[in-house]
Subunit: 305 residues, 2 copies
Amino acid sequence: MSVLVVGSVALDSVETPFGKADEVIGGSATYFSASASHQTPVQLVGVVGNDYPVERLQALADRGVDLAGLEHMDGESFRWRGRYRHDLNSAETLETRLGVFSHFRPKIPVQFRNAEYVFLGNIDPRLQLEVLKQVEKPRLVACDTMNFWIESRRDDLLELLGHVDLITLNDGEARQLTERSNLVHAARWILERGPTTVVIKKGEHGAFMFTANSVFFAPAYPLESVFDPTGAGDSFAGGFIGYLARTGDLSEASMRRAVVHGSAMGSFVVEGFSITRLLEITRADIVRRVAEFHELVSFDKTIDA
Amino acid sequence: MSVLVVGSVALDSVETPFGKADEVIGGSATYFSASASHQTPVQLVGVVGNDYPVERLQALADRGVDLAGLEHMDGESFRWRGRYRHDLNSAETLETRLGVFSHFRPKIPVQFRNAEYVFLGNIDPRLQLEVLKQVEKPRLVACDTMNFWIESRRDDLLELLGHVDLITLNDGEARQLTERSNLVHAARWILERGPTTVVIKKGEHGAFMFTANSVFFAPAYPLESVFDPTGAGDSFAGGFIGYLARTGDLSEASMRRAVVHGSAMGSFVVEGFSITRLLEITRADIVRRVAEFHELVSFDKTIDA
C-alpha cells in the first residue's frame, strides 16, 4: 500500500566537521520519500520554485516516488543552510529562506486522496489540518512537528493532535510541547490528546515508542562514521511508516519492527550528505542492519536471576 | 563467589528538584556494595573518619557486606555536597572535603587477598595499582575512573589499563581519555590498551558494552520518577560485577545479562536518596525489572523485511 507524504522539498547547504555540501536536495518530504521508497510506493506533495534542479528528483521517481503532487511555483525554492560542530547531535541554522514554501497550500491530487497511510511532514499545523480535509479515510495518519510550530501555532497543533494516530517528535520538542521534563510523563500528556502512538526521537540516543500500555526503545546504531545528521528524523519516519504501509500490519509487534526499520534508515542516511546513501543501499542492506540492531540489544533473561 | 570493592565511603549532601538530603551515607564503595549484595557477598575496603556514623553501615553488614577492610582514621570523613538541576543528567559539585580520604592507602585484609572478583572504585589510579599488588590472582578485575584522574594521573591510568579486564566510564570520560568523539572509536582505543571489555555509561541514555568483536546496548529504564541520580554508576557496577561473581559465568551471554542487571540496579537507586531503595528492594523486584528491560527492547525480526 502506498504512503502519502506532504512536506518540504528544499535545497540544503551543510557544513559538518567532515565536509561541506552546497545546494544538495533536502527537505522533509524528500528524505521521507527516499527512505520509504525502500518499502513501498510513495506519493509526494510539496512545492518548489522555478530554480529547483528537478532533474535531481528523477532518482526518487525511479524508485517509485510519484511526483504528481509536486507543485512548481514562480519564485525561489526553500533553502536551508546549517552547520554541525563536533557534537553532531544538534544543527546550528545559519540561514533559512522559505521562498515559495511560505506560500505553500498543499493540494492533494485526486488520485492521492484515498491514501491509506499519510505522513504530515514538519510544516505549519494549519496546513497539516488542511491536508487531512482533502484525504478520504486514511488508516493511519502520522505527523511530525518542530519547536517553531510549538511556539507559534500551539492551538493549531493541539487541534491537529486530535486528528492523528501517531506523532513523531524529538525529546526537546516533547518537553517543550508538554512542559514535562520526564519523557514518560510527556508521552502520556500527548497520548491523552489524541494520538494512540507517540514516538520520541533522541537523535544519537535512540527512540522511544509509547502507547497507552507499552513502551518500546530502539537505540541509534553505534556508527563509526556519522557524516551528516541532516534528515535523520525524516528518514526514520520514512522507514517507520513505509514499513507499516508495506506490511499493513499495525499490531504492537509490527510497530516495534517498524521503529527498528526507521532506526535503520536513520543510521544509513547520516553516512553521507543529502539522500546519497538512501539511493545506494539495497533491501539486503536494510535486512542486515535490522539484524544488527537485534544483535545489539538481545539478551537472554535466563532464570538464573 | 564474593566480590572485593575498594573505594570511597562518604557522607553526601544532595539537593535535587525533588528534595534535599543532608549527610547521608554515600561513596563509590558504599553504593557498589549495597547493589552487589543483592547478588553475592561483598568485601569492602575503604576509610572513614572518627566522625562517621558507622552504625548506619550496619544495614550493609546485615546484607552480607564484610566491613573488615573499613579503616577508621583520626580526622574528618570524606564529604561531598552537590546539586542537580532539572536536567538530572549531571551533578554540580558544590563542595568536596576529602578529609581522611586524602590519606587513604588501601590495605587489603589477608582474608580478602584471594578475591576472584575485584572492583576498583573511582580513586587515584596509583592506589588502584597498589590494590592489585595486594591481591593474588583475581579472575576478573574491573575499574572505574573520572575526569579528575584522566587529567591529573593520565600515565598511571594508562598503566592501570594494562592490568584490568574491564573498565566502566561515562561517555564524557571516554571521550576525554581517548580524545575520540565517536564512542566506537573511543572504545576501540581503550580495548587496544588492555581491557577486554569496555562499558561506556551514558546516564539516562543507557550503556554500551564493547568487546573486540561485539557491541551490546542496554537503555536506561524510562522511569517516571528519577529522584536523585547520585550513585547510579556505582550501583550499575555493583549489579554488573555482582551478577558475574554470583554466576561465575564470563561468557558474552552472561556479560549481557550482567549489564542489564547493572542497569536494573541503576534504575532502582535513583528512585530515592542515598542507598535507601537498594535496601528496600528484593530479588523478586530485580527479576521483574530485568524482565521489563527485556520487554522494553524486544522485537521479532521476522523475515518480512
